[in-house]
Symmetry: C2
Subunit: 301 residues, 2 copies
Amino acid sequence: MFGLTILGNNSAVPAFGRHPTSQAVSYEDQVFLVDCGEGTQLQLARYKIKRNKINHIFISHLHGDHYFGLIGLLTSLGLMGREHDLTVYGPSLLENIIMMQLEAAGTQLKFKLNFVKLTEGGMIFSGTKMEVLCFPVKHRIPCFGFVFREKKLPRKLLPEEAKRLEIPANFFHHLQLGEDYHSPGGILIKNERVTTANTPGRIYAYSADTIYDESLSSIFANANLLYHESTYLHEMEDRARERFHTTARQAAAIAAKSGVKKLLLGHFSSKYETLDPFLHEATAFFPNTDLAIEGVTYRII
Amino acid sequence: MFGLTILGNNSAVPAFGRHPTSQAVSYEDQVFLVDCGEGTQLQLARYKIKRNKINHIFISHLHGDHYFGLIGLLTSLGLMGREHDLTVYGPSLLENIIMMQLEAAGTQLKFKLNFVKLTEGGMIFSGTKMEVLCFPVKHRIPCFGFVFREKKLPRKLLPEEAKRLEIPANFFHHLQLGEDYHSPGGILIKNERVTTANTPGRIYAYSADTIYDESLSSIFANANLLYHESTYLHEMEDRARERFHTTARQAAAIAAKSGVKKLLLGHFSSKYETLDPFLHEATAFFPNTDLAIEGVTYRII
Protein backbone atom coordinates (compact mmCIF):
# COMPACT_ATOMS: atom_id res chain seq x y z
CA MET A 1 0.00 0.00 0.00
CA PHE A 2 1.18 3.48 -0.91
CA GLY A 3 -0.85 5.94 1.14
CA LEU A 4 -0.91 9.30 2.80
CA THR A 5 -2.42 9.81 6.27
CA ILE A 6 -3.17 13.37 7.32
CA LEU A 7 -2.17 14.09 10.94
CA GLY A 8 -2.74 17.84 10.79
CA ASN A 9 -4.22 20.09 8.11
CA ASN A 10 -4.13 23.53 9.69
CA SER A 11 -1.76 26.46 9.36
CA ALA A 12 -0.22 28.53 12.12
CA VAL A 13 -2.44 28.74 15.22
CA PRO A 14 -4.41 25.51 15.90
CA ALA A 15 -8.14 26.16 15.53
CA PHE A 16 -11.51 24.41 15.34
CA GLY A 17 -9.96 21.13 16.46
CA ARG A 18 -7.53 21.16 13.54
CA HIS A 19 -3.86 20.48 14.18
CA PRO A 20 -0.75 21.93 12.56
CA THR A 21 0.81 20.22 9.57
CA SER A 22 2.04 16.66 9.67
CA GLN A 23 1.56 13.70 7.35
CA ALA A 24 2.56 10.06 7.33
CA VAL A 25 3.47 8.62 3.93
CA SER A 26 3.19 4.83 4.12
CA TYR A 27 4.78 2.54 1.61
CA GLU A 28 4.49 -1.18 2.32
CA ASP A 29 5.80 -1.45 5.88
CA GLN A 30 7.69 1.82 5.95
CA VAL A 31 6.42 5.18 7.24
CA PHE A 32 7.92 8.49 6.14
CA LEU A 33 6.90 11.49 8.22
CA VAL A 34 6.43 14.81 6.41
CA ASP A 35 6.52 17.82 8.74
CA CYS A 36 5.83 17.52 12.44
CA GLY A 37 3.77 20.32 13.98
CA GLU A 38 3.12 20.51 17.72
CA GLY A 39 1.20 17.49 18.97
CA THR A 40 2.24 15.14 16.15
CA GLN A 41 3.25 12.40 18.59
CA LEU A 42 -0.28 12.48 20.00
CA GLN A 43 -1.79 12.38 16.52
CA LEU A 44 0.37 9.37 15.61
CA ALA A 45 -0.96 7.59 18.68
CA ARG A 46 -4.54 8.63 17.97
CA TYR A 47 -4.43 7.31 14.42
CA LYS A 48 -2.46 4.21 15.37
CA ILE A 49 0.59 4.85 13.23
CA LYS A 50 3.52 2.97 14.69
CA ARG A 51 6.21 5.46 15.61
CA ASN A 52 8.92 2.89 15.41
CA LYS A 53 8.28 2.35 11.70
CA ILE A 54 9.34 5.93 11.03
CA ASN A 55 12.96 5.99 9.92
CA HIS A 56 12.94 9.19 7.86
CA ILE A 57 11.43 12.55 8.80
CA PHE A 58 11.23 15.38 6.28
CA ILE A 59 10.84 18.95 7.60
CA SER A 60 9.94 21.50 4.94
CA HIS A 61 10.81 24.69 6.85
CA LEU A 62 11.19 26.22 10.26
CA HIS A 63 7.81 27.84 10.80
CA GLY A 64 6.59 26.31 14.01
CA ASP A 65 3.42 24.78 12.63
CA HIS A 66 5.68 22.46 10.59
CA TYR A 67 8.18 21.30 13.20
CA PHE A 68 7.49 22.25 16.85
CA GLY A 69 6.42 18.65 17.52
CA LEU A 70 9.70 17.15 16.35
CA ILE A 71 11.65 17.55 19.60
CA GLY A 72 8.83 15.91 21.57
CA LEU A 73 8.61 13.00 19.16
CA LEU A 74 12.37 12.42 19.22
CA THR A 75 12.45 12.62 23.03
CA SER A 76 9.58 10.15 23.34
CA LEU A 77 11.22 7.73 20.88
CA GLY A 78 14.27 7.87 23.13
CA LEU A 79 12.27 7.26 26.30
CA MET A 80 10.50 4.33 24.66
CA GLY A 81 13.87 2.67 24.07
CA ARG A 82 14.24 3.02 20.31
CA GLU A 83 17.60 1.73 19.11
CA HIS A 84 17.54 1.92 15.30
CA ASP A 85 18.73 4.90 13.30
CA LEU A 86 16.54 7.84 12.39
CA THR A 87 17.30 10.45 9.75
CA VAL A 88 15.87 13.96 9.77
CA TYR A 89 15.97 16.04 6.58
CA GLY A 90 15.48 19.75 7.09
CA PRO A 91 16.79 23.29 6.90
CA SER A 92 20.26 23.91 8.16
CA LEU A 93 19.36 25.40 11.58
CA LEU A 94 17.19 22.46 12.58
CA GLU A 95 20.04 20.32 13.87
CA ASN A 96 21.23 23.07 16.25
CA ILE A 97 17.72 23.64 17.58
CA ILE A 98 17.20 19.94 18.28
CA MET A 99 20.64 19.26 19.70
CA MET A 100 20.48 22.26 22.04
CA GLN A 101 17.22 20.97 23.51
CA LEU A 102 18.46 17.40 23.88
CA GLU A 103 21.55 18.69 25.67
CA ALA A 104 19.57 20.99 27.97
CA ALA A 105 17.49 17.99 29.06
CA GLY A 106 20.57 15.81 29.55
CA THR A 107 19.02 13.40 27.05
CA GLN A 108 21.23 10.66 25.64
CA LEU A 109 19.38 8.98 22.79
CA LYS A 110 20.12 5.30 22.41
CA PHE A 111 19.52 5.53 18.67
CA LYS A 112 21.65 7.26 16.07
CA LEU A 113 20.05 10.52 14.95
CA ASN A 114 21.29 11.73 11.57
CA PHE A 115 20.60 15.13 10.08
CA VAL A 116 20.60 15.88 6.37
CA LYS A 117 20.65 19.60 5.64
CA LEU A 118 18.45 20.73 2.77
CA THR A 119 20.23 23.42 0.76
CA GLU A 120 19.16 22.83 -2.85
CA GLY A 121 16.79 20.65 -4.84
CA GLY A 122 17.66 17.05 -5.67
CA MET A 123 17.46 13.44 -4.58
CA ILE A 124 17.76 13.15 -0.80
CA PHE A 125 16.76 9.54 -0.19
CA SER A 126 16.94 6.44 -2.30
CA GLY A 127 15.68 3.15 -0.91
CA THR A 128 15.03 -0.12 -2.67
CA LYS A 129 11.50 0.78 -3.74
CA MET A 130 11.09 4.48 -3.01
CA GLU A 131 13.05 7.63 -3.63
CA VAL A 132 12.50 11.10 -2.26
CA LEU A 133 13.44 14.35 -3.93
CA CYS A 134 13.26 17.84 -2.49
CA PHE A 135 12.71 21.09 -4.35
CA PRO A 136 12.90 24.69 -3.14
CA VAL A 137 9.68 26.71 -3.07
CA LYS A 138 9.14 30.45 -2.61
CA HIS A 139 8.09 31.21 0.96
CA ARG A 140 8.99 33.83 3.55
CA ILE A 141 11.86 31.70 4.83
CA PRO A 142 13.81 28.88 3.13
CA CYS A 143 11.34 26.10 2.39
CA PHE A 144 11.35 22.79 0.50
CA GLY A 145 8.66 20.59 -0.97
CA PHE A 146 9.07 16.84 -1.43
CA VAL A 147 8.33 14.28 -4.13
CA PHE A 148 7.96 10.61 -3.19
CA ARG A 149 8.56 8.44 -6.23
CA GLU A 150 8.02 4.73 -6.33
CA LYS A 151 10.94 2.98 -8.00
CA LYS A 152 10.02 0.50 -10.66
CA LEU A 153 12.19 -1.44 -13.06
CA PRO A 154 11.26 -0.87 -16.72
CA ARG A 155 9.92 -4.41 -17.39
CA LYS A 156 7.67 -6.73 -15.44
CA LEU A 157 8.74 -10.38 -15.36
CA LEU A 158 6.51 -13.22 -16.55
CA PRO A 159 8.05 -15.75 -14.16
CA GLU A 160 6.26 -18.86 -15.45
CA GLU A 161 7.37 -18.19 -18.99
CA ALA A 162 10.96 -17.41 -17.91
CA LYS A 163 11.12 -20.69 -15.97
CA ARG A 164 9.66 -22.68 -18.83
CA LEU A 165 12.39 -21.32 -21.08
CA GLU A 166 14.97 -22.34 -18.45
CA ILE A 167 16.31 -18.86 -17.82
CA PRO A 168 18.20 -18.98 -14.51
CA ALA A 169 16.68 -16.97 -11.62
CA ASN A 170 19.84 -14.92 -11.18
CA PHE A 171 19.24 -13.41 -14.62
CA PHE A 172 15.68 -12.26 -13.81
CA HIS A 173 16.89 -8.83 -12.64
CA HIS A 174 18.51 -8.28 -16.08
CA LEU A 175 15.23 -9.25 -17.76
CA GLN A 176 13.43 -6.62 -15.66
CA LEU A 177 15.96 -4.09 -16.93
CA GLY A 178 15.05 -5.03 -20.51
CA GLU A 179 17.96 -7.28 -21.54
CA ASP A 180 17.68 -10.29 -23.85
CA TYR A 181 18.88 -13.72 -22.70
CA HIS A 182 21.50 -15.86 -24.47
CA SER A 183 21.33 -19.48 -23.37
CA PRO A 184 24.54 -21.56 -22.89
CA GLY A 185 23.40 -23.53 -25.97
CA GLY A 186 23.53 -20.29 -28.03
CA ILE A 187 19.78 -19.60 -28.26
CA LEU A 188 18.62 -15.97 -28.08
CA ILE A 189 15.45 -15.30 -26.09
CA LYS A 190 14.13 -11.82 -26.76
CA ASN A 191 13.17 -9.84 -23.68
CA GLU A 192 9.60 -9.29 -24.91
CA ARG A 193 8.89 -13.04 -24.66
CA VAL A 194 9.37 -13.13 -20.89
CA THR A 195 8.42 -9.60 -19.73
CA THR A 196 5.78 -6.95 -20.24
CA ALA A 197 6.18 -3.18 -19.97
CA ASN A 198 5.90 -2.16 -16.34
CA THR A 199 3.46 0.46 -15.11
CA PRO A 200 5.21 3.69 -14.16
CA GLY A 201 6.06 4.25 -10.50
CA ARG A 202 3.47 6.19 -8.55
CA ILE A 203 4.25 9.71 -7.38
CA TYR A 204 3.17 11.73 -4.37
CA ALA A 205 4.09 15.43 -4.37
CA TYR A 206 3.93 17.72 -1.33
CA SER A 207 4.01 21.44 -2.05
CA ALA A 208 4.96 22.61 1.45
CA ASP A 209 4.15 26.31 2.03
CA THR A 210 4.52 28.32 -1.14
CA ILE A 211 3.34 31.32 -3.04
CA TYR A 212 1.43 30.43 -6.23
CA ASP A 213 4.22 29.45 -8.59
CA GLU A 214 3.49 28.02 -12.04
CA SER A 215 7.07 26.89 -12.44
CA LEU A 216 6.35 24.11 -9.94
CA SER A 217 4.12 22.39 -12.49
CA SER A 218 7.10 20.62 -14.05
CA ILE A 219 7.96 19.17 -10.65
CA PHE A 220 4.40 18.08 -9.92
CA ALA A 221 3.97 16.71 -13.47
CA ASN A 222 2.06 13.42 -13.63
CA ALA A 223 1.88 13.01 -9.85
CA ASN A 224 -0.76 10.51 -8.81
CA LEU A 225 -1.50 12.72 -5.84
CA LEU A 226 -0.55 16.34 -5.22
CA TYR A 227 -1.03 17.82 -1.76
CA HIS A 228 -1.00 21.55 -2.30
CA GLU A 229 -1.34 24.15 0.39
CA SER A 230 -4.40 26.36 0.11
CA THR A 231 -4.16 28.60 3.11
CA TYR A 232 -6.81 31.03 1.84
CA LEU A 233 -9.82 31.28 -0.44
CA HIS A 234 -9.74 33.35 -3.64
CA GLU A 235 -11.28 36.35 -1.84
CA MET A 236 -7.99 36.68 0.05
CA GLU A 237 -5.66 36.32 -2.91
CA ASP A 238 -3.79 39.52 -2.03
CA ARG A 239 -3.24 38.31 1.50
CA ALA A 240 -2.05 34.96 0.15
CA ARG A 241 0.54 36.65 -2.09
CA GLU A 242 1.69 38.93 0.72
CA ARG A 243 2.19 35.95 3.08
CA PHE A 244 3.70 33.72 0.34
CA HIS A 245 0.76 31.36 0.44
CA THR A 246 -1.69 29.97 -2.15
CA THR A 247 -5.48 30.09 -2.56
CA ALA A 248 -7.69 27.08 -3.26
CA ARG A 249 -8.33 28.34 -6.81
CA GLN A 250 -4.59 28.71 -7.44
CA ALA A 251 -3.93 25.22 -6.08
CA ALA A 252 -6.51 23.87 -8.53
CA ALA A 253 -4.90 25.83 -11.37
CA ILE A 254 -1.47 24.37 -10.69
CA ALA A 255 -2.96 20.88 -10.39
CA ALA A 256 -4.59 21.27 -13.80
CA LYS A 257 -1.43 22.65 -15.35
CA SER A 258 0.67 19.81 -13.90
CA GLY A 259 -1.61 17.06 -15.14
CA VAL A 260 -1.81 15.39 -11.73
CA LYS A 261 -4.43 12.72 -11.17
CA LYS A 262 -5.74 14.04 -7.90
CA LEU A 263 -5.40 17.14 -5.75
CA LEU A 264 -5.58 17.30 -1.97
CA LEU A 265 -6.05 20.71 -0.33
CA GLY A 266 -4.63 21.52 3.11
CA HIS A 267 -2.88 24.00 5.39
CA PHE A 268 -6.08 25.92 6.00
CA SER A 269 -5.94 29.29 7.72
CA SER A 270 -7.32 29.48 11.24
CA LYS A 271 -9.70 32.15 9.96
CA TYR A 272 -11.93 29.51 8.41
CA GLU A 273 -14.21 27.44 10.59
CA THR A 274 -15.70 25.39 7.74
CA LEU A 275 -13.71 23.95 4.89
CA ASP A 276 -16.37 23.23 2.26
CA PRO A 277 -15.78 26.56 0.49
CA PHE A 278 -12.21 25.39 -0.28
CA LEU A 279 -13.52 22.28 -1.99
CA HIS A 280 -16.21 24.21 -3.83
CA GLU A 281 -13.74 26.78 -5.10
CA ALA A 282 -11.15 24.25 -6.28
CA THR A 283 -13.41 21.68 -7.96
CA ALA A 284 -14.67 24.36 -10.38
CA PHE A 285 -11.15 24.37 -11.84
CA PHE A 286 -9.96 20.85 -11.02
CA PRO A 287 -12.75 18.35 -10.34
CA ASN A 288 -10.72 15.53 -8.79
CA THR A 289 -10.00 17.42 -5.59
CA ASP A 290 -10.43 16.43 -1.95
CA LEU A 291 -9.93 18.20 1.34
CA ALA A 292 -7.13 16.81 3.49
CA ILE A 293 -9.01 15.59 6.56
CA GLU A 294 -7.21 14.61 9.74
CA GLY A 295 -7.08 10.89 10.36
CA VAL A 296 -8.01 10.00 6.79
CA THR A 297 -5.68 7.89 4.65
CA TYR A 298 -5.64 8.70 0.93
CA ARG A 299 -4.43 5.87 -1.29
CA ILE A 300 -1.96 6.89 -3.94
CA ILE A 301 -3.19 5.07 -7.05
CA MET B 1 -10.87 33.46 43.19
CA PHE B 2 -7.52 31.78 43.79
CA GLY B 3 -7.50 28.53 41.87
CA LEU B 4 -5.40 25.99 40.08
CA THR B 5 -6.49 24.44 36.77
CA ILE B 6 -4.67 21.31 35.65
CA LEU B 7 -3.83 21.32 31.94
CA GLY B 8 -1.64 18.22 31.99
CA ASN B 9 -0.87 15.68 34.71
CA ASN B 10 1.40 13.20 33.00
CA SER B 11 5.16 12.73 32.96
CA ALA B 12 7.40 12.16 29.97
CA VAL B 13 5.64 10.35 27.11
CA PRO B 14 1.95 11.33 26.76
CA ALA B 15 -0.26 8.30 27.49
CA PHE B 16 -3.85 7.24 28.08
CA GLY B 17 -5.13 10.63 26.96
CA ARG B 18 -3.06 12.41 29.60
CA HIS B 19 -0.97 15.39 28.62
CA PRO B 20 2.43 16.56 29.86
CA THR B 21 2.68 19.01 32.73
CA SER B 22 1.09 22.43 32.66
CA GLN B 23 -1.05 24.33 35.14
CA ALA B 24 -2.85 27.65 35.20
CA VAL B 25 -2.84 29.45 38.54
CA SER B 26 -5.67 32.00 38.53
CA TYR B 27 -5.84 34.85 40.97
CA GLU B 28 -8.69 37.30 40.43
CA ASP B 29 -8.29 38.26 36.78
CA GLN B 30 -4.68 37.19 36.37
CA VAL B 31 -3.43 33.84 35.09
CA PHE B 32 0.04 32.52 35.89
CA LEU B 33 1.17 29.57 33.80
CA VAL B 34 3.30 26.93 35.51
CA ASP B 35 5.19 24.70 33.08
CA CYS B 36 4.13 24.30 29.49
CA GLY B 37 4.41 20.78 28.05
CA GLU B 38 3.72 20.03 24.40
CA GLY B 39 0.13 20.86 23.48
CA THR B 40 -0.47 23.38 26.27
CA GLN B 41 -1.88 25.95 23.84
CA LEU B 42 -4.50 23.41 22.80
CA GLN B 43 -5.30 22.58 26.42
CA LEU B 44 -5.72 26.29 27.22
CA ALA B 45 -8.23 26.54 24.37
CA ARG B 46 -10.00 23.34 25.41
CA TYR B 47 -10.48 24.52 28.97
CA LYS B 48 -11.31 28.10 27.97
CA ILE B 49 -8.44 29.81 29.75
CA LYS B 50 -7.78 33.13 28.08
CA ARG B 51 -4.25 33.13 26.78
CA ASN B 52 -4.04 36.88 26.81
CA LYS B 53 -4.50 36.99 30.59
CA ILE B 54 -1.21 35.15 31.00
CA ASN B 55 1.55 37.64 31.73
CA HIS B 56 3.94 35.40 33.64
CA ILE B 57 5.09 31.89 32.73
CA PHE B 58 7.15 29.81 35.14
CA ILE B 59 9.20 26.92 33.72
CA SER B 60 10.59 24.55 36.36
CA HIS B 61 13.21 22.76 34.25
CA LEU B 62 14.19 21.78 30.75
CA HIS B 63 12.85 18.26 30.51
CA GLY B 64 10.57 18.40 27.49
CA ASP B 65 7.38 17.38 29.26
CA HIS B 66 7.60 20.68 31.13
CA TYR B 67 8.35 23.15 28.34
CA PHE B 68 8.12 21.83 24.75
CA GLY B 69 4.81 23.68 24.34
CA LEU B 70 6.26 27.08 25.22
CA ILE B 71 7.59 27.99 21.77
CA GLY B 72 4.24 27.15 20.18
CA LEU B 73 2.32 29.20 22.72
CA LEU B 74 4.62 32.21 22.29
CA THR B 75 4.42 31.97 18.49
CA SER B 76 0.62 31.77 18.58
CA LEU B 77 0.38 34.76 20.95
CA GLY B 78 2.46 36.67 18.40
CA LEU B 79 0.27 35.58 15.48
CA MET B 80 -2.84 36.57 17.41
CA GLY B 81 -1.51 40.11 17.72
CA ARG B 82 -0.60 40.27 21.41
CA GLU B 83 1.02 43.55 22.32
CA HIS B 84 1.50 43.53 26.09
CA ASP B 85 4.61 42.29 27.85
CA LEU B 86 5.15 38.68 28.83
CA THR B 87 7.76 37.42 31.27
CA VAL B 88 9.14 33.89 31.27
CA TYR B 89 10.98 32.60 34.34
CA GLY B 90 13.13 29.55 33.73
CA PRO B 91 16.53 27.90 33.64
CA SER B 92 19.32 29.80 32.01
CA LEU B 93 19.37 27.95 28.65
CA LEU B 94 15.67 28.56 27.99
CA GLU B 95 16.11 32.01 26.51
CA ASN B 96 18.62 30.73 23.92
CA ILE B 97 16.35 27.86 22.93
CA ILE B 98 13.37 30.13 22.42
CA MET B 99 15.22 32.94 20.69
CA MET B 100 16.93 30.57 18.28
CA GLN B 101 13.56 29.20 17.18
CA LEU B 102 11.95 32.62 16.83
CA GLU B 103 14.86 33.74 14.69
CA ALA B 104 14.79 30.61 12.52
CA ALA B 105 11.13 31.33 11.76
CA GLY B 106 11.80 35.00 11.05
CA THR B 107 9.27 35.78 13.80
CA GLN B 108 9.09 39.34 15.08
CA LEU B 109 6.90 39.39 18.17
CA LYS B 110 4.93 42.59 18.62
CA PHE B 111 5.05 42.16 22.39
CA LYS B 112 8.05 42.47 24.67
CA LEU B 113 9.25 39.06 25.83
CA ASN B 114 11.32 39.18 29.01
CA PHE B 115 13.31 36.30 30.42
CA VAL B 116 14.22 35.91 34.08
CA LYS B 117 16.89 33.27 34.64
CA LEU B 118 16.39 31.06 37.68
CA THR B 119 19.71 30.41 39.37
CA GLU B 120 18.92 30.27 43.11
CA GLY B 121 15.93 30.29 45.41
CA GLY B 122 14.15 33.53 46.30
CA MET B 123 11.39 35.95 45.36
CA ILE B 124 11.02 36.22 41.61
CA PHE B 125 7.74 38.10 41.25
CA SER B 126 5.96 40.57 43.46
CA GLY B 127 2.64 42.02 42.34
CA THR B 128 0.09 44.00 44.29
CA LYS B 129 -1.70 40.95 45.67
CA MET B 130 0.48 37.97 44.85
CA GLU B 131 4.11 37.08 45.13
CA VAL B 132 5.98 34.13 43.67
CA LEU B 133 9.07 32.49 45.09
CA CYS B 134 11.20 29.80 43.55
CA PHE B 135 13.24 27.14 45.31
CA PRO B 136 15.73 24.62 43.96
CA VAL B 137 14.81 20.94 44.13
CA LYS B 138 16.94 17.85 43.59
CA HIS B 139 16.35 16.42 40.12
CA ARG B 140 18.55 15.04 37.34
CA ILE B 141 19.01 18.50 35.86
CA PRO B 142 18.63 21.96 37.46
CA CYS B 143 15.02 22.31 38.57
CA PHE B 144 12.94 24.77 40.58
CA GLY B 145 9.64 24.57 42.40
CA PHE B 146 7.40 27.58 42.96
CA VAL B 147 5.37 29.05 45.83
CA PHE B 148 2.47 31.41 45.07
CA ARG B 149 1.73 33.52 48.12
CA GLU B 150 -1.23 35.82 48.42
CA LYS B 151 -0.17 39.16 49.86
CA LYS B 152 -2.28 40.44 52.68
CA LEU B 153 -1.87 43.45 54.93
CA PRO B 154 -1.74 42.52 58.64
CA ARG B 155 -5.08 44.13 59.61
CA LYS B 156 -8.50 44.12 58.04
CA LEU B 157 -10.32 47.47 58.01
CA LEU B 158 -13.79 47.93 59.55
CA PRO B 159 -14.73 50.71 57.12
CA GLU B 160 -18.05 51.72 58.73
CA GLU B 161 -16.38 52.18 62.10
CA ALA B 162 -13.44 54.07 60.62
CA LYS B 163 -15.83 56.43 58.80
CA ARG B 164 -17.96 56.94 61.92
CA LEU B 165 -14.84 58.00 63.81
CA GLU B 166 -14.04 60.41 60.97
CA ILE B 167 -10.71 58.87 60.04
CA PRO B 168 -9.83 60.15 56.56
CA ALA B 169 -9.80 57.56 53.78
CA ASN B 170 -6.20 58.32 52.89
CA PHE B 171 -5.16 56.95 56.31
CA PHE B 172 -6.95 53.60 55.81
CA HIS B 173 -3.82 51.98 54.38
CA HIS B 174 -1.93 52.85 57.60
CA LEU B 175 -4.71 51.31 59.63
CA GLN B 176 -4.35 48.10 57.62
CA LEU B 177 -0.67 48.13 58.49
CA GLY B 178 -1.58 48.29 62.22
CA GLU B 179 -1.01 51.95 63.01
CA ASP B 180 -3.10 53.99 65.49
CA TYR B 181 -4.79 57.23 64.37
CA HIS B 182 -4.23 60.64 65.97
CA SER B 183 -7.01 63.05 65.04
CA PRO B 184 -6.29 66.76 64.31
CA GLY B 185 -8.11 67.47 67.61
CA GLY B 186 -5.55 65.36 69.49
CA ILE B 187 -7.66 62.26 70.06
CA LEU B 188 -5.96 58.84 69.84
CA ILE B 189 -7.93 56.08 68.16
CA LYS B 190 -6.32 52.71 68.81
CA ASN B 191 -5.96 50.51 65.76
CA GLU B 192 -7.92 47.64 67.33
CA ARG B 193 -11.09 49.80 67.36
CA VAL B 194 -11.22 50.05 63.55
CA THR B 195 -9.54 46.85 62.36
CA THR B 196 -9.48 43.14 63.03
CA ALA B 197 -6.58 40.76 62.53
CA ASN B 198 -6.46 39.69 58.91
CA THR B 199 -6.50 36.07 57.83
CA PRO B 200 -3.11 34.94 56.55
CA GLY B 201 -2.51 34.99 52.80
CA ARG B 202 -3.23 31.73 51.04
CA ILE B 203 -0.37 29.68 49.65
CA TYR B 204 -0.07 27.34 46.70
CA ALA B 205 3.14 25.29 46.45
CA TYR B 206 4.30 23.41 43.36
CA SER B 207 7.00 20.80 43.92
CA ALA B 208 8.12 20.47 40.29
CA ASP B 209 10.04 17.21 39.64
CA THR B 210 12.03 16.14 42.67
CA ILE B 211 13.42 13.23 44.56
CA TYR B 212 11.78 12.70 47.96
CA ASP B 213 13.33 15.44 50.05
CA GLU B 214 12.18 16.11 53.62
CA SER B 215 14.00 19.41 53.70
CA LEU B 216 11.32 20.82 51.39
CA SER B 217 8.79 20.64 54.23
CA SER B 218 9.87 24.04 55.55
CA ILE B 219 9.14 25.53 52.13
CA PHE B 220 5.75 23.83 51.82
CA ALA B 221 4.85 24.66 55.45
CA ASN B 222 1.24 25.74 55.92
CA ALA B 223 0.45 25.76 52.22
CA ASN B 224 -3.28 25.70 51.55
CA LEU B 225 -2.57 23.48 48.58
CA LEU B 226 0.53 21.49 47.72
CA TYR B 227 0.87 19.94 44.28
CA HIS B 228 3.52 17.27 44.65
CA GLU B 229 4.78 15.06 41.91
CA SER B 230 4.14 11.36 42.43
CA THR B 231 5.55 9.77 39.32
CA TYR B 232 5.45 6.25 40.77
CA LEU B 233 3.71 4.08 43.33
CA HIS B 234 5.51 2.77 46.40
CA GLU B 235 6.30 -0.54 44.67
CA MET B 236 8.69 1.43 42.43
CA GLU B 237 10.41 3.41 45.17
CA ASP B 238 13.86 2.35 43.97
CA ARG B 239 13.07 3.45 40.44
CA ALA B 240 11.76 6.76 41.81
CA ARG B 241 14.99 7.42 43.69
CA GLU B 242 17.11 6.44 40.70
CA ARG B 243 15.17 8.84 38.42
CA PHE B 244 15.00 11.62 41.06
CA HIS B 245 11.24 11.29 41.38
CA THR B 246 8.80 10.70 44.24
CA THR B 247 6.21 8.03 45.04
CA ALA B 248 2.61 8.72 46.08
CA ARG B 249 3.38 7.51 49.60
CA GLN B 250 6.38 9.84 49.85
CA ALA B 251 4.31 12.77 48.57
CA ALA B 252 1.79 12.06 51.32
CA ALA B 253 4.58 11.88 53.91
CA ILE B 254 5.96 15.28 52.92
CA ALA B 255 2.45 16.76 52.93
CA ALA B 256 1.90 15.48 56.47
CA LYS B 257 5.28 16.74 57.64
CA SER B 258 4.67 20.18 56.09
CA GLY B 259 1.27 20.65 57.67
CA VAL B 260 -0.36 21.57 54.37
CA LYS B 261 -4.13 21.66 54.19
CA LYS B 262 -4.51 19.68 51.00
CA LEU B 263 -2.34 17.58 48.71
CA LEU B 264 -2.74 17.18 44.97
CA LEU B 265 -0.90 14.33 43.26
CA GLY B 266 0.32 14.59 39.68
CA HIS B 267 3.07 13.89 37.11
CA PHE B 268 2.03 10.28 36.75
CA SER B 269 4.27 7.87 34.90
CA SER B 270 3.06 6.63 31.53
CA LYS B 271 3.34 3.10 32.95
CA TYR B 272 0.06 3.55 34.81
CA GLU B 273 -3.23 3.37 32.98
CA THR B 274 -5.42 3.95 36.04
CA LEU B 275 -4.69 6.49 38.74
CA ASP B 276 -6.83 5.28 41.65
CA PRO B 277 -3.92 3.36 43.20
CA PHE B 278 -2.10 6.68 43.65
CA LEU B 279 -5.01 8.10 45.61
CA HIS B 280 -5.41 4.94 47.64
CA GLU B 281 -1.73 4.84 48.54
CA ALA B 282 -1.50 8.50 49.54
CA THR B 283 -4.72 8.86 51.54
CA ALA B 284 -3.54 6.16 53.97
CA PHE B 285 -0.86 8.63 55.05
CA PHE B 286 -2.52 11.96 54.26
CA PRO B 287 -6.30 11.83 53.98
CA ASN B 288 -6.96 15.20 52.34
CA THR B 289 -5.46 14.19 49.01
CA ASP B 290 -6.83 14.48 45.49
CA LEU B 291 -5.60 13.39 42.10
CA ALA B 292 -4.76 16.24 39.74
CA ILE B 293 -7.25 15.71 36.92
CA GLU B 294 -6.97 17.51 33.61
CA GLY B 295 -9.49 20.27 33.12
CA VAL B 296 -10.42 20.42 36.82
CA THR B 297 -9.97 23.65 38.79
CA TYR B 298 -9.01 23.25 42.44
CA ARG B 299 -9.86 26.22 44.64
CA ILE B 300 -7.12 27.29 46.99
CA ILE B 301 -8.95 27.88 50.28
